[in-house]
Amino acid sequence: MSDLNAFRQETRDWLEENCPPAMRVSTKGGDEMCWGGRNYKFASADQQQWMERMGAKGWTAPDWPTEYGGGGLDKAEHKILKEEMLRINARSPLDSFGIWMIGPALLKFGSEALKHQHLPPIIRGEIRWCQGYSEPGAGSDLAGLQSKGEDMGDHFVANGQKVWTSYGDKADWMFCLLRTDSEAKKQMGISLVLFDMETPGVTPKPIKLISGSSPFCETFLDDVRVEKDQVVGEVNQGWTIAKYLLTHEREMIGGMGMIDIGSETLGQIAAKAMGVEYGRMNNPLLRAEVAKWEIDGACFALTAERVTDEVKSGHGVGATSAMLKYYGTELNKRRFETLLKLNGTDAMVWEGEASNEGWLPRTWLRTKGNSIEGGTSEVQLNVIAKNILGLG
């Protein structure tokens, strides 16, 4: 225990010294997050410094092993780090598909060589990754994907089209699912491969969304050379890894999908927006909507906590990632619908400084994708019904 106390003190001191004051202010959504990568334009020198300092310490990936550049923290230490960061309201130094998705998959399934090649630059924020799963004909039914990897002996040649590739135009590398055996049963002939987005034949084209921004692309693959040593796990065994990765993605979207709306609760925002008389907010129907959301939000946060605690204590898993993904994203959507109402016509303003360039309506529209990306709500309900409830 005293070791942990010492760790807490050291952590506190280190953060105090190294976290720039500007990084102790809440972010307002995606644009202020730090994604890193070869061509990344930092929003400020502070942002860059914060990422680099945390990266050098391995604290962008606190629980990954030190031999790959990670923080090597155990669960208790990791928790302390999180608490101490929260205490000073420190921003996440780096958010990336490398840390959320391909990193954990490499740690579990990758060869030593792949881990040493890819994990350190992820941790330091030097290489940014994108996910090449979905295709025009393969969305919910991901195993129906058709992009091919043809075996040329020492390498594969990839051909096909990916779509909805988030940040495909900004990423440096892609982790990508290819059909490497067209004879085998649907799920059996798929491999997970890694390649540089600068490889000849890789062409990402941005797609404009209803929010007005273009966070994702369709990505064309024309005779792209993929080295054999860049296959994660065994050839034709990619489906298992892809599914593992999806679980991580769901947890991430479900748990962290609660987009930061600043330090005030929905109730506090509501009270300010509508006014309170005799202890009760004006507009009783909206008040009930806010209160019901906060009740569900509290129950959901407690459930995320309980699931973590159950795993830690070896009590087996109660709720699963599918449930957290389903409920968390629906909750986030509901919250933004309420925020919209609380802001009235102000919430419709799309441009201009007063509206922070339409932050609210654009973020509101972005939340609609939460219950689609990483598997739709309907697919999560299917997973619960089949895998947990045993309904065929």
Partner: protein
């Protein structure tokens, strides 16, 4: 504190499960109802519970109790939701103990808590005076008379009010309906002169009563806590009551889910199991997810009571509001998915909805607690 049960709490849960399945299953409720039972439970049931120490779980060790805590007691109550078991546990071992412990003098605690732990007396809490929960609206009068008091007024839908030995009565010694100040708690014998008890038959077959007090004279020693300062203890007792009602509703929601899921895997229509229809699968999956949320909030609220956390009032309202909502969903879906057979008295699934509604309404329903939560949150 981690949101999981300790080994001892887990053991208590399992032993409660075993005991209730054997001695007080849903079939027992039917039996009691059909026999027109006054109490709603078999005569020797309470004796067995007392013997196992259940009456003493919340009683402090210094007053002869086990002091095992709310999380433990919550496991038992959750199981009684699965079996729809009526017993004095709620009104006596939870409400009685909490009120006396919160407000009572040393002497009252020594005498009354010891007697409860030993199974010698049962209690009931008499608060509401209309069909809606409104603890500040108490207008029943307690007027000073000599060294004691004279009670006049009436109480509605008092759980165990028809059988309890002692009534814990909230009455007004000053102020008027709406004031928190001026409410006092009294311990009154149910058989005292001027106490008129009228049993109310309810949907759940349990024992409720409307009670009228006509010039009921009580001694000064009947006052629980300080005169006019009873609201705090009353509020704490109601918070506890609501957390346990939420725990019971959790048991009800889970059991009706489990039974319905089983039915989806047995019943065939159109040549296939009805559980293969996606229209039912998605509703079942959503229902299951909602129950997962409920498990977390009930456990948190029980833990918060053990830790005497300042968040207990908010958590109690969150738990009661959420569980009322989900129990409503659960019991309605249970009948709908059983369809025709779910409408029959012969089938047990219909018993769950008939216990859920009074449990939801008692001490404030979903709307009451959503409003209270918002008030506590500053809006």
């Amino acid at each position: 504190m981690a949101l999981v049960l300790s080994e001892e709490q887990q053991m208590l849960k399992e032993s409660a499960q075993g005991f209730l399945a054997e001695f007080a299953p849903v079939a027992e409720l039917r039996k009691q109802r059909d026999a027109g039972s006054e109490t709603g439970y078999a005569e020797n049931l309470w004796g067995q519970m007392v013997e196992m120490g259940w009456a003493a779980i919340l009683v402090p060790e210094s007053y002869g109790g086990l002091e095992f805590g709310h999380v433990g007691m919550g496991q038992i109550i959750e199981q009684t939701g699965r079996t729809l078991t009526a017993s004095p546990l709620f009104a006596t071992a939870i409400l009685g103990v909490t009120a006396i412990n919160a407000a009572g003098s040393e002497e009252q605690k020594t005498e009354l808590l010891g007697a409860i732990a030993g199974g010698e007396i049962t209690t009931a809490l008499a608060v509401d005076e209309t069909a809606h929960h409104a603890p500040t609206q108490i207008s029943m009068a307690a007027t000073k008379q000599g060294t004691g008091y004279s009670l006049n007024g009436s109480k509605r839908f008092v759980a165990d009010g028809g059988t309890a030995d002692k009534l814990i009565v909230a009455a007004r010694t000053s102020g008027e309906a709406g004031d928190m100040k001026g409410i006092s708690l009294f311990v009154v014998d149910r058989t005292a002169a001027g106490v008129e008890v009228e049993r109310t038959a309810a949907t759940d077959g349990r024992n409720y009563a409307n009670i009228t007090f006509n010039n009921v004279e009580v001694a000064e020693a009947a006052l629980l806590g300080e005169e006019g300062q009873g609201y705090r203890a009353l509020n704490a007792t109601l918070d506890a009551g609501n957390v346990y009602l939420a725990a019971e509703l959790l048991g009800i929601s889970q059991e009706s889910f489990d039974r319905t899921l089983q039915y989806l895997k047995e019943r065939k229509q159109f040549g296939v199991l009805i559980g293969s229809f996606q229209g039912l699968q998605h509703r079942a999956a959503d229902w299951w997810s909602q129950v997962e949320l409920c498990k977390s909030v009930v456990l948190k609220a029980l833990q918060a009571m053990d830790a005497t956390d300042t968040k207990v009032p908010a958590l109690a309202s969150i738990a009661k509001a959420k569980l009322s909502e989900v129990a409503e969903l659960a019991t309605n879906e249970a009948i709908q998915m059983h369809a025709g057979i779910g409408m029959t008295d012969e089938y047990e699934i219909g018993f769950f909805i008939k216990r859920a509604r009074p449990a939801q309404a008692l001490f404030g329903d979903n709307s009451y607690h959503t409003d209270r939560f918002a008030l506590l949150s500053g809006y």
